[in-house]
Symmetry: D2
Subunit: 437 residues, 4 copies
């Protein structure tokens, strides 16, 4: 058997068919011998359903990729050339909690930033460090493609505290690129966006189409009602004056920072007894239907419904990244990697999201330099939060966790930070061994 | 006539007797030949009262300092060795406005930070640049000691856009030092505080008493109810957990960032029809009584009532700074000057507040290096706001002003920023020539 | 007529057929409508010969590129999309002087570094600034591809003192890549070299072949006698211990720094009355024969003899760079561009030589970060020399020129620097208007 | 018994009476209870002589300082508050070797820089790390005042590889200050020099007298023949043009870099069979006479002859530094400490020589920022050498040692570096355990 082994941790995820689809589409350039889906016992049923669908998809494509499924992570890692992490500690139930508990204190609930994002980070860090210990032992040369949110923060944790080779990946940049191509009626290959920032806090500083600066045209389209949003983010319209004064393309997740009040109001309405429920609660419904669909024996392709779930272009982002590494393509991908002086004013060893040349030796950012104050301060503030969150997540220090929250731009005061932290630690206790006495 | 000439712009201020008192106390080391108080026509009456009191004070001290008063700024600057700026564009009425208008939008009102601080900055910048043009022409070798708020931002404007030699001064650091000395029952001369930050956003990273690290003792005292506040800042108690997790001494103005919600509630109550009024409104009353007192012919000393006004230790800070320059003392003062690499992660040409060695060649900071994330992010975020505010104030760009507000940690969203900016520009229009079409 | 106009300044150079060959080879992707060769009156005869050969080459290739020749630089620049500078102020006679005069003082003579390189820089800077003034007026959107040595220093001058869009190009990196490919019997496309440094002072920190680190193999080959040299640089063998301790691939020009004594001895022997003459003197002979050859009417291709001249792969480097810009290829070229934080410990605004992604918006370096001390110090020292040389060349300051020489690692003392400078200024006086009183 | 214990390692040095004199002069402010002189067995006789003289000096001063002498370093360190290192591994014989062996290869011989300095560094590092291990165990709170050369490099080793609190001290800055005061006929207290650089490579960027910039006057005096040299450095006159172009005050040791050829010629002459001998050889004679003198029972003061030895103002520099720490004076001393961003373009964790505020918490540099290219490149080059030398000294890596020499500005080629290294390692083998197999 020749070809690489890819281990997918959190393999029972509803996103997996998307990933499988990506490997099928790129089979010619990326010879996958085995895709090993691994999950925890609680996900066994989903893992079974997804792996069976995956096998049907591969068979329908006439390919010779072995899809395996296991609950034994160490077995999955053995011999892997790439490890993809798409796990969610605590599942959608924990996400629903992340989205709800801050609302009580007048703070918006979101799974990747704010108090909800901190909760997710603190739950995920111990698991991720555990996985990395296994990788270091079982497949030390493997590349870890981390898709687990908060993707930048988790990638920084891995690169700071382990020796695992890791690139953090998010579909926001590719989503922006594809959406902008559509807005401009252009070919995505002709679009180049000068990305700079952090994960879920990345701006397109300039947009070029065939080498022409089309930033203003893109900003004008955005003001005309073009949404540029994503399934996981409320579809609020951007203010014309604000966009013009910014002069750069925000990412969908920037709404949480620039439209905090409006989103909070929407979330409160959705979370009310008569509301539509939080995003996680909606996603739980979507997932239920998706898994029903996945079980239909005649289904041999990624179903159209998957797109409602979010994560569009995930397969493109992930599998083309793996191919760029495997084939030493030295082409540009927008990923999360070590700053190393790319962006002035951020620590050299922190993780940023930026355009990188990716090849067999990993991801190397294109130099950025000084950022304009329009975006520098917010990035630096959130990065300080992230570093405190990482310290808290690794050490279990309540002090660091309190400072993380008090330093988060979405948290209005140290007093509220303290209340949020108390609740966060209580309701997530089962997932936070590092904070146990 | 030998000795220096000191020009005091905004000389009719109620603070002036404090400053005069400082010159009297240091007459032995600092030979002032003339203190020239200058003000605008609207301040003529106050100027008359204050200058007469000043003359009585000097006479009572048996000193030979000539106190002059004029409405002609150019005449005041002619031959000056030091220029002290303590002006307030728009007077206390404008300050009262700064404190009130943000409240409508659920944002706290404060004269040196947030939307109120931006209003003050935008009003002050054109006047300050005008003064600097005069200094460059009439007394180019003079040192400008800027006490006008927002003191750091205004100092950065002067150093970035003019060639005037300028040091920004604030009484917060000296106030902290004196208060901590009292808390510890120690001599102020034995206390050394490792200050780092920006004006009104400065932390004491460590406190030393006779070379012993007493930071924890100070933090414990603060938790025990010791206020460490100032006349201009609400006297709210610091939370124990928060202080312990911070591990550094905040300045009184940090309450606006760490206790935003509580302060907003207090301000809303005070600003209500049945409330006590905003700080500016209270100060207006204090000032009225002060000026009545100043007119009493038998008053020949700084009256005790002045202390209620705020600005304690102003004379100590200002006159000892002037003396350090004049006498080339090369002693340590905590002032606002160019970063120049002192604090990593901030632009080299921005202004910081830090411990500096001060002598005839100016202020040179003691190296600081990397700041911990507990304070780095907030500093960087506020600095980005300040730089946008400066650009807006100098250029009259509405875009920059909107970005300044949208980037301020106290402003909850870009939408609110826009509403605040509209009102700010409207109600301050007479003082904002740079924004006129 | 569609397609771009390329102006070649120094168009009468013997290198021009190399360049024309490059345009012919890439005609499919790069539609050149006109290549305008421009030279000074002293070069008229060469210009005539070269332009006629160029026309024969284009005709033989069956292409529709108009080759024009002129002594009017402004006419040549009118409408140009690309400007290539390959001029040599003072011609080979000046180069011969550059190579000889330092020898008297026991310092090696070289046209791009040391005292000879300074002479060339000081002669070239005023001419280059003049050209840039014309570009700014006549074709402000044109890209200047600077091949004129010292290429990095000249590019830095252009980027620091003009608004012309400029990329500095040298054939050293491509030469290293092609040579290493041959050494390894590999395809050049499979080789990736992690270049870092300055022009003529660039190291391959790692060499990868198909994503495998082959640095040690390359170093071993170099020790086994493989020359890795270039026509313009003496072919001295690298010491095994030294290479192993360096652990990186030096460029051919590093011999001037690492083998200073040996090269000096060789140069002194060559320059002796019975010696072979300096490189420039040999090149003068080669050139004479080349131009005889160029005049043969039946010659319709770049003659093989051209390779002896040096400048191998020049056409590949130059025309593929132009094509990368024109076609917005965003592929990696090793060029000279602004540091902007790419290499830590060098000024943000200085020019470095590094791997860059090149597209229509120019060249953007891949982040490098901290350099190891094995190469950092020498790079920083030479950069300091370069900056002093630029200041001297622009301002005509004798002080800066003296400091430039005194700071050059190849100049043994300030005393020798002074003697060298005196002679340099005297013998180059006709080309140094900026130093005239 | 109250007061501090000072351990002097290398206590048998001829400099010790200088140090004792310093403690006597500052007895009022610095209560030394015990000065413990410690040396190695080979120095026992000198130790005896010096300690007896020291006791006579203390007695004559009527002071109650206990002077003890021991060969047991651990006993000396027990309970010490300050440790002064003034040791010389291999003694003057090794220094004589350092001064001679490079001459064979046409390289100047000097004990603190170049190949001789590297030899000294490699001999000293293992001993120093050993001492630091003892300090960490026996008196972890003690301050190590390192006077052992190369003082900057050794201090960097201590601060990088141990947890010992260390300040590096050299008498060059104080010597410059005292000499300049004499040149200007001014009081030393009125002189302030803006020092920046590395140990033995420090420039006075500006000189101020009573706050007036007198740099030009000082430079003029230096050109007029004023030597500004030191006992250990040849007294060569500075060139007028060179000084004017530099615009800064070089330190005496700069002659090795700026007058390399002249010094080499002088050294070669001195080292010739009929020459005067190297500096170490002369010093050996001086020392012999000094120790004869020290033994005279009636001698109860530091003898005038000591001044010929070099090290003038050593006591002032050392004891006033200790007093500044002990008394938390927060006054300015020019010492070697961690860069931490003080000088841009140097690593944050390297050691520089700069003006520092010194108090009980150590030495904190005054911010410097970007250096001009006139001095930046040389500093950076020498720092790269130092870092390689430290790596070599700690690890015993021949590769690092070879790179250190090849990167030293005084070594003309990698080939010569290799020859020098071979001889260095051979003749110093007994002192280089880290390089033994």
């Amino acid at each position: 058997m020749s070809g690489i082994k890819v281990a997918v941790i959190g393999g029972g995820s509803s996103y997996t068919p998307e990933l499988i689809d990506g490997f099928i589409k790129r089979a010619a350039e990326l010879p996958a011998a085995e895709i090993c889906l691994v999950d925890i016992p609680a996900g066994e049923e989903k893992l079974r359903i997804v792996s069976q669908l995956a096998r049907r998809m591969v068979a329908a494509a006439g390919l010779n990729i072995r899809v395996t499924a296991t609950l034994d992570r160490r077995q999955a890692l053995q011999g892997a050339g790439f490890v993809v992490t798409q796990l969610r500690v605590g599942g959608l139930a924990a996400r629903a909690q992340d989205e709800r508990f801050p609302l009580k204190y007048g703070v918006l609930g979101q799974e990747t930033t704010g108090p909800g994002g901190l909760a997710k980070a603190l739950r995920t860090i111990p698991v991720m460090l555990d996985i990395c210990r296994d990788i270091s032992e079982l497949c030390p040369e493997a590349w870890l493609i981390n898709f687990t949110n908060p993707a930048g923060l988790i990638t920084e944790t891995v690169l700071e505290y382990t020796r695992v080779k890791c690139i953090g990946l998010c579909n926001v940049p590719i989503h922006l690129k594809m959406t902008i191509a559509k807005l401009l009626d252009a070919d995505a290959g002709d679009i180049f966006i000068d990305f700079a920032g952090l994960n879920h806090l990345v701006w397109g500083r300039k947009v070029w189409c065939k080498g022409q600066d089309v930033t203003d045209a893109v900003l004008a389209k955005l003001q005309d009602g073009a949404a540029l949003s994503m399934k996981n983010v409320p579809d609020l319209k951007w203010d014309k004056d604000f966009l013009n004064s910014l002069g750069m393309v925000p990412c969908p997740y920037h709404r949480y920072y620039y439209m905090t009040d409006t989103i909070l109001a929407e979330e409160l309405a959705a979370a009310a007894p008569d509301g539509a429920g939080t995003r996680a609660e909606i996603v739980q419904e979507v997932e239920k239907r998706l898994f029903d669909r996945y079980q239909e024996p005649e289904l041999t392709h990624k179903p159209a419904e998957l797109e409602k779930r979010g994560g569009a272009y995930y397969s493109d982002a992930a599998v083309s990244l793996i191919s760029a590494i495997y084939n030493d393509k030295r082409e540009i991908h927008t990923v999360n990697t070590v700053n190393n002086g790319t962006i002035a004013g951020l620590p050299a060893d922190c993780v940023i999201e930026a355009n990188c040349v990716v090849g067999r030796t990993g991801a190397r950012p294109l130099t950025i330099g000084e950022l304009p104050p329009e975006i520098a301060g917010l990035i630096q503030h959130v990065k300080a939060y992230e570093r405190l969150a990482i310290e808290a997540g690794v050490s279990g220090s309540r002090h660091k966790a309190l400072q993380a929250l008090a330093n988060h731009p979405l948290v209005p005061s140290a007093g509220v930070a303290k209340l949020l932290l108390d609740e966060l630690l209580t309701i997530n206790a089962e997932y936070l061994p590092q904070f146990a006495l």
